[in-house]
């Protein structure tokens, strides 16, 4: 006995986003960049640290956005890739004595491999099953990191303390500020890479798979390859973000990378607008600052505030920040017209 499912009448797992709608124009991009460069010069060290975290989470959300918005696959397990990246950097720095900047590509490559391998079984899964498998991955990760066998390397439950790098070449800036610009440079490189990736042949293959897998394979796209590739790329970028996170926070511990982090990143993507890459930074700002405000109101409330806001976004602005951007664009267009 078998059930037949009509795939044509069935809604796609993720709403199709046209390629052009995925990025910002040059003018706006430059304005945002100038803003990101200028702001740290005006604020205190603690705020600079928060801005660094903002960029780091933005990169992680961007990675999820490539996977979901680009290739239409889910992941509730991004925290696992983030954790692997963070631990790779931390272990290389503390046990291997390797320069922090050099640990990032290693974290990226290791996570790419991990994601690519995890993508293999995930190939058989779609939609909700994939969400399930990655959900299980995210919940299992902290236990794997606490494992006695790796305790020498990972520091077990205690975690590892990472030393914060100084600014090189005797540059007259604080550690926080140097780290911010370092992160900004890497985030920018990753952003440009991602935009170009989605505009390339591979990017078009991702989107074809997202919109209709069977039609895509009929057009000659190697569905298996591109789906695992999307997983690998997404995991790799998340790994770099994780590595940066470890350097910025100066500490890695299993319980920093629970399912809550994965949920945050997922939420960031939904708030920022699925498939709209610049939205990642909006989503990241949301997941960094909203819990602070919620915790300020009452401890333990942040989960409820998160959930309620997520529902509001789903119902009122299903396209997230992209919808806001479209409205602004229309307004500017009208002003120019007059």
């Amino acid at each position: 006995m078998s059930a037949i499912e009509e795939t044509v009448t069935e809604a796609a797992a993720v709403e199709a986003v046209p390629k052009k709608a995925m990025t910002l124009g040059y003018g706006t991009s430059l304005a945002v960049l100038v803003l990101l460069i200028a702001v740290p010069l005006l604020v205190k060290n603690f705020i600079i640290f928060q801005l660094t975290m903002l960029l780091i989470y933005a990169v992680a959300v961007l990675a999820l956005n490539i996977l979901t918005g680009g290739s239409g696959q889910f992941s509730l397990g991004q925290s696992a890739f983030y954790a692997v990246g963070a631990y790779t950097s931390a272990i290389l720095m503390e046990h291997g004595g390797i320069n922090y900047a050099l640990t990032l590509p290693v974290a990226g490559v290791i996570c790419f491999g991990f994601g690519f391998l995890f993508g293999q079984p995930a190939l058989r899964l779609s939609g909700v099953y994939l969400a399930l498998a990655t959900f299980a991955l995210a919940t299992a990760m902290p236990q794997l990191l606490k494992l006695g066998a790796f305790e020498y390397w990972t520091g077990g439950v205690q975690g590892l303390v990472v030393t914060k790098p100084d600014a090189p070449f005797g540059l007259p800036m604080s550690q926080d500020m140097w780290l911010y610009y370092f992160t900004l440079a890497i985030s920018l490189a990753i952003y440009i890479f991602s935009v170009n990736l989605l505009r390339s042949r591979s990017g078009r293959a991702f989107m074809a798979i997202r919109d209709n897998e069977i039609a895509a394979s009929a057009m000659g796209i190697d569905v298996a390859l591109y789906k695992t590739l999307a997983f690998g790329v997404s995991a790799g970028i998340t790994g770099v973000a994780g590595g940066l996170g470890a350097i910025a926070v100066q500490f890695v511990a299993p319980d920093s990378y629970t399912i809550a982090l994965a949920i945050s990143l997922f939420l960031g993507m939904v708030v920022g607008g699925v498939g709209w890459l610049p939205g990642s930074i909006v989503g990241s700002a949301f997941i960094i600052f909203v819990p602070n405000i919620a915790e300020g109101i009452s401890k333990g409330l942040s989960g409820a505030v998160f959930g309620v806001l997520l529902f509001l976004v789903i119902f009122l602005v299903p396209h997230g920040a992209r919808q806001g951007a479209i409205v602004v664009q229309h307004l500017i267009g009208k002003l120019r017209g007059n």
Binding site: A3, A11, A136, T139, Q143, L147, I263, G307
Partner: protein
Amino acid sequence: MELFTNQVLAGISTGAIYACMALAVVMIYQAIDHLNFAQGEMAMFSTFISWQLMQWGVPYWGAFVLTLVLSFIGGIAIERLLFKPLAKAPILTNVAGFIALYSIVNSVAGLIWDFTIKQYPTPFGSYPFLGSQLISTHQAGMIGVTILLLIGLFFFFRFTRMGLAMRAAASLPESARLVGINTSWMIALGWGMAAAIGSIAGMMIAPVVFLEPNMMLGVLIYGFAAAVLGGLTSPLGAVIGGFLVGIMENLAGTYIPGAGNELKLPIALALIIVVLVVKPAGLLGRPIVKRV
């Protein structure tokens, strides 16, 4: 050999927990074709309600029945208010909705009842069952409840008009609507039943794992693993899957060195992935054929 049989017995008794949860998972999957990530949290919330009722002096079985009714109504209310408007939305939106619900329920429970661990009573007592040190009367009672539940569900789906209508609405919604079934309400009913079954699972599990807002996370993952193993479309499969998962967990803990409590969740993860790769339909599920 004695160690082996003992571990299998112990596995069956923990398996009853997973079987209960897996039944709730399968129930909702049948009704709406999605896995509800908030299922465990909903069950936890129901359990807290029953605990609160008992604190107010309601006797165990009174609280049990009241909680069942409240959970049933709560499940329907959640569907009507939050998920009915999302019925036509992409899967992503639905998953986001489940995640939101998960986060709200967990946080609100912590807010109302605090994150401290609470004792939860059992109606069966916790003496050795038939003189065996491995299965307590509570665990035996839990197995009994699970089997009763399964039989009840079987009769409901097989022999009642309502059960038939629900099955029709789940498998071919368009055609079901054409023959006059109110498919939208069937989905709401599915949510209600899943919430009620979840609450039974929660009330049976709470004496074992103790009551606290995060008590269901591990159980939910194992419930998912059990449901996937048994086949997401088959209640019987879910129960068998639950017992098998319990046995596997215990055997792995005994015979694989280093795989004690600290590898609990990774084992479930490995199991889910292996089943999904080797036999995606599960033991008793039916395969789904896609047609363009």
